[in-house]
Chain length 425, copies 2
């Protein structure tokens, strides 16, 4: 895609040479991991196109929106409510954080013992290779984990337009009041940025747009309950990843289209893997583009991923927002109600997450759970141990892995995952 | 001390054999590190005695108090307000977290990549070697860092009587309201435990008791501004550590007594090290008994520690509580005001801490700052980098170290500290 967009990238201040390297690696990885899969649904053609244009056409669309006076807001977390952003006539995009970049420079600003996701967000900025970040009129950070919370203090100096949202640590009344107050503050900040006040009408429309997107991806998820499963874990993860980048209406339409195809496959008993292939639930840290390491390993050793309990997966996309409110206030309450249910490991205690994993394991007829932890991600790594203990008590096999974005441990992981899958047969 | 107390320890459920090993190691370390120091103030005799009886006489005192109907509350953090505990007729003690113990068992419950302090608190419980923990009627955890916050979820099952206090992450109005609400909730819980309601009188007395203790240790700190410095960093750290264990009134008296002696030393120009010895400020993570590794290293390579910007040091002890309130409510507000100033790295942003380090560096005529970070302590390790950058811009040399409780890196640290001190001369 690079030829048509070089001047656009240059105008965003990207380092064209470094960016070429990134696109090259990304393209090769996509070719090797995605395009070599067999029996892919035809509807994945849309996502292949999106990925081939992820730094191209989509950025051009955002810049066209900006030229027409619309603002772009970038985020790193599912706690940033897209409903509010859309209602104030802005576009929300997820920011790059799925690959190592400029690591040497990053480690001048962050401890080496920082999780790969946080380091990556710094790397894409320092390496000048994230066109989403450079297109954003406002970048939203949030006080989730210690790593992100403290890292944003330095990130602020790198980007200049960082807005930090505070979040509760406990699901108490005070916690909910804090979330409400922070969403109000965010609404006001977005309104100032866009000059467009959020109205009851615009908020209702925005809630419906986001609900439709969540309902579509939830429909896709649900179809993975079938055996044989009609779509690979890799492809389903990709749809969940594109959720954060794409135009919401087009995304909804494209996901629903592939769902129609998957329903036909289920009816015809057509799967991407044979019936009785060991079924895996992946639970834990988010997997951002192009972090496809774990599903690539799992699905090349004879198992299939049928669900993701993750921010890039059901943790982030389940639960719709009540759209019956009449006033902005009522709908803001509904938004708070919806997001307050997100069972991120930053909350203490966090029993909903274990319950959700249990439910998903049953619903998706899972043979085993792989707990995916990013090294140095304390909330998920600490929580992984009681989660594993609880699941094993209920005879749900669990494998805890801890990794980063490098490819150095692929061989070792493959051996461990292979042995785990073997015991599930 | 062990012979007289064996039945007491057995009654607390300690593992006597493991506890003997601990006391043996502790005693030898104290002998080697503390008792070999030269020109120690006579007043340190009191602290030597306290340390020799830290698991003996002090525990007997606590058990005598308990027999007389008083409750003992244990804590791991300077955010737990002793004023409220004393006002409800209970005793607050710091709980053991300064040494590795039962590491293999600990790592079944916590990730290996957890800081030594958190692992230690689990180790003392699993190894059954902390008489303070076993004497406590209530153990207070707090949502400070991710590591502690998530670890308490498992710790709860080990101890049975854990109370968890939520804390804000931002010094906003909402943050202060949360602290106020949590201190109210804590007061109510302590009142239920003791059956003694907090009154205006008892709270005023408690505030004054704790203020006197803080004023005494602050007086001790201030005397270290002299050159030659009249007390070693090791001895001053010990007094700061005993702050968490001792009877408050007796502690205050003993510290004031040693201060009288130090004033005389200053008048006579008597120091523990020669004049012009390089003066170090240690800033960062808390150093709990018997974590004397860093000061031992610093003070054997020809420098002296003149101040600690730490929870076991000025961060924890500075700022008195306004005692002029007439009602419980007014004094609770004053307590919140006082604790809300604690500049722990869990807060974001946390500019007060850097300002405090700057002020201390000037006040104590510091030649260099050593930032002490516990490995995997994300809040302090992330904050260390901008702190170092800011200090070096102001020509205050800074050395960032990252370590744990093991002795394996002593040689390596010594080399680094020695080189740092050399450049300060």
């Amino acid at each position: 895609m690079s030829d048509n967009y070089r001047s656009m990238w240059a105008s965003l201040g990207l380092d064209l040479e470094a960016h070429d390297v990134l696109l090259d690696v990304l393209g090769k990885a996509y070719q090797d991991i995605y395009l070599t899969q067999k029996k892919r649904p035809e509807g994945m053609g849309y996502f292949d196109f999106v990925m081939s244009e992820v730094h191209g056409l989509r950025i051009k669309e955002l810049l066209d929106e900006k030229a027409a006076g619309r603002k772009v807001i970038g985020s790193y977390c599912v706690f940033v409510p897209e409903e509010i952003v859309l209602a104030a006539n802005a576009t929300l995009v997820g920011l790059c954080s799925g690959a190592d970049f400029a690591t040497e420079d990053v480690e001048k600003l962050l401890p080496r013992n920082t999780c790969a996701l946080i380091k990556s967000s710094f790397g894409f900025k320092l390496g000048k290779v994230c066109p989403y970040l450079e297109s954003a009129d406002m970048i939203v950070g949030e006080n989730t984990c210690d790593g992100k919370k403290k890292a944003y203090e330095s990130f602020k100096d790198l980007v200049g337009n960082l807005y930090v949202m505070d979040l509760p640590q406990v699901k108490s009344e005070m916690g909910k009041a804090l979330l409400r107050s922070e969403y109000n503050r965010f609404k006001a900040a977005v309104e100032v940025l866009t000059g467009v006040p959020v109205t009851a009408d615009s908020l209702k429309t925005a809630i419906r747009t986001v609900n439709a997107k969540r309902a579509a991806i939830h429909r896709l998820s649900s179809l993975r309950k079938a055996d044989p499963v009609p779509i690979s874990g890799l492809d389903a993860l990709l749809a969940n990843q594109v959720f954060f980048y794409d135009n919401p209406a087009r995304f909804t339409e494209s996901v629903n289209k592939i769902c129609d195809e998957l329903e036909k496959r289920i009816h015809d008993k057509l799967g991407v893997f044979p019936e009785k292939t060991p079924r895996i639930l992946v639970s834990g840290c988010p997997q951002a583009v192009p972090n496809w390491k774990l599903p690539m390993i799992v699905e090349t050793v004879g198992a299939v991923i049928v669900a993701e309990e993750s921010c890039v997966g059901e943790r982030g996309t389940r639960n719709l927002t009540d759209d019956t409110g009449e006033t902005v206030d009522e709908m803001m309450d509904a938004i708070v109600d919806r997001y307050f249910q997100v069972d991120c490991a930053i909350f203490t205690p966090n029993p909903d997450r274990l319950n959700h994993i249990r439910d998903m394991a049953a619903d998706y007829k899972v043979d085993g759970v792989i707990h995916y932890g990013l090294q140095f991600c304390q909330p998920y790594l600490v929580e992984a141990i009681p989660v594993e203990t609880a699941l094993e008590k209920e005879n749900i096999p669990c494998l805890r892995i801890e990794t980063d974005y490098s490819m150095e441990d692929v061989g070792q992981l493959k051996t461990r995952v292979e042995a785990f899958v073997e015991q599930l047969r």
